[in-house]
Symmetry: C2
Subunit: 249 residues, 2 copies
């Protein structure tokens, strides 16, 4: 709890590589905290229910609470973080009902994405998708947290290639929230099956077969949804610090 910690941490400049979304809260600092936390959540390093104390996060990322606060607000807007007045932030714990809503919205959005893609997809796009699936396969082998993230990013990539930025943003959001839902309700699944299903979607798109692609997607999401089971972690006081260090880069 020593004060004046940052002076030491502050690198002279942090030129964050690539602003993921067009929307930015402000400078690159809160963005960096935001994306760090986001990644930690999506890779399930931070688990639903974990307390996100502003001071702790600020300490680990080398910024003041002001910045952390902005990042948390953004994560809250996305539904990844619960923010209770005067009690602070925790990783969101979607109820089963919310989970259902998210999946339904996701289905609806991704159908539209595929409909667009089946019409306008280019060979270059297909190449990118193939490459991504390959990446998934490789990461999936040694089942790192990266595999979880990559599985989601496949869908985000699809949405981005659709060319509709609004759709892309929403898909990004629902996919992220699905990570949370799986963390809460699913057994530690091997995502091998996912990869296979992703490949099928790409194949259908290559054939410009909107119908088959949609079917494949429906089946895929159905499979993911049905992994919703029991489970509930409740370590009252997990120490986040060491985890945050891994994501503060």
């Amino acid at each position: 709890m020593d004060t004046k910690w940052w002076r030491a941490h502050l690198a002279p400049s942090v030129p964050s590589s690539m602003p993921n979304h067009p929307s930015k809260t402000s400078g690159s600092r809160s963005e960096s905290v935001y994306s760090g936390l986001r990644r930690a959540i999506i890779e399930q390093a931070l688990m639903p229910g974990d307390k996100l104390t502003e001071d702790v996060i600020g300490e680990r990322f080398g910024v003041s609470r002001t910045i952390v606060r902005a990042a948390l607000a953004k994560l809250n807007a996305e539904g990844l973080v619960d923010l209770q007045p005067n009690k602070g932030a925790t990783i969101a714990q979607p109820s089963l009902s919310e989970a259902h809503d998210v999946f339904e919205a996701r289905m609806c959005l991704e159908r539209q994405v595929l409909a667009r893609l089946a019409e306008r997809i280019t060979d270059r796009d297909l190449a990118m998708l193939e490459q991504h699936v390959a990446l998934e396969a490789k990461a999936g082998a040694h089942d790192g947290p990266a595999a979880i993230r990559l599985a989601g990013e496949f869908h985000i990539l699809l949405a981005e290639l659709s060319g509709n930025g609004v759709l892309a943003r929403y898909v990004d959001e629902v996919v992220s929230r699905c990570s949370l839902i799986l963390a809460l309700y699913s057994r530690p699944h091997s995502s091998d099956c996912s990869i296979n299903e992703h490949q099928q979607i790409v194949d259908a798109l290559r054939a410009r077969d909107a119908d088959r692609a949609t079917k494949a997607m429906d089946h895929h999401l159905q499979a993911v949804t049905e992994r919703a089971l029991l489970s509930s972690n409740s370590d009252k006081h997990r120490d986040i610090r060491s985890i945050l260090d891994r994501y503060a880069g």
Copy 2:
């Protein structure tokens, strides 16, 4: 430019009536600024391109820049406000391409809403819708800025009645952004036609006719979309202060 203005303004407590979304940035203060600005934007009192200076807003709402900043960040996340680093916030000016994306997403989402509603709508829900349409008709008569807002709120109400919170949030967002788009690209339309079309949608829902409802909605949105024309307001330096006062309550 006198400092220490707020002491005078600060009411002892501001028990904001109803938190629109479950997501809250923090306390009720930023919420109040947020919703005030939002309403001003949606009612087209604030126009695309208008500069939103933190100090000015803070002064009018009787809060510090900290609070204003949180509100602006949230509006930015919703796509209603552009936030450029070191240059501040302006009301968003969606490009035609963005406008198209928004409308496409909106169509997709609202179809899903209608599909759900056609199955599960109750008589009580229908009554609420009827009541709302009546309200629209009344407000539309003397064409206040409220009419614009109410037209949008019809769609938001539909989404909320659908029972899917995620869907509702997204519909809320795209509908709001449509206000901006209309402000930019449409002639000052009388929304009488809208009301009529809204009534048709309600009628279709009463008959539990998903198909007819969807058709009506498609037609309705089509009509709205096609009002996209020319126009561009560019008062370089509009004075926002008097407008803000009307929304600071």
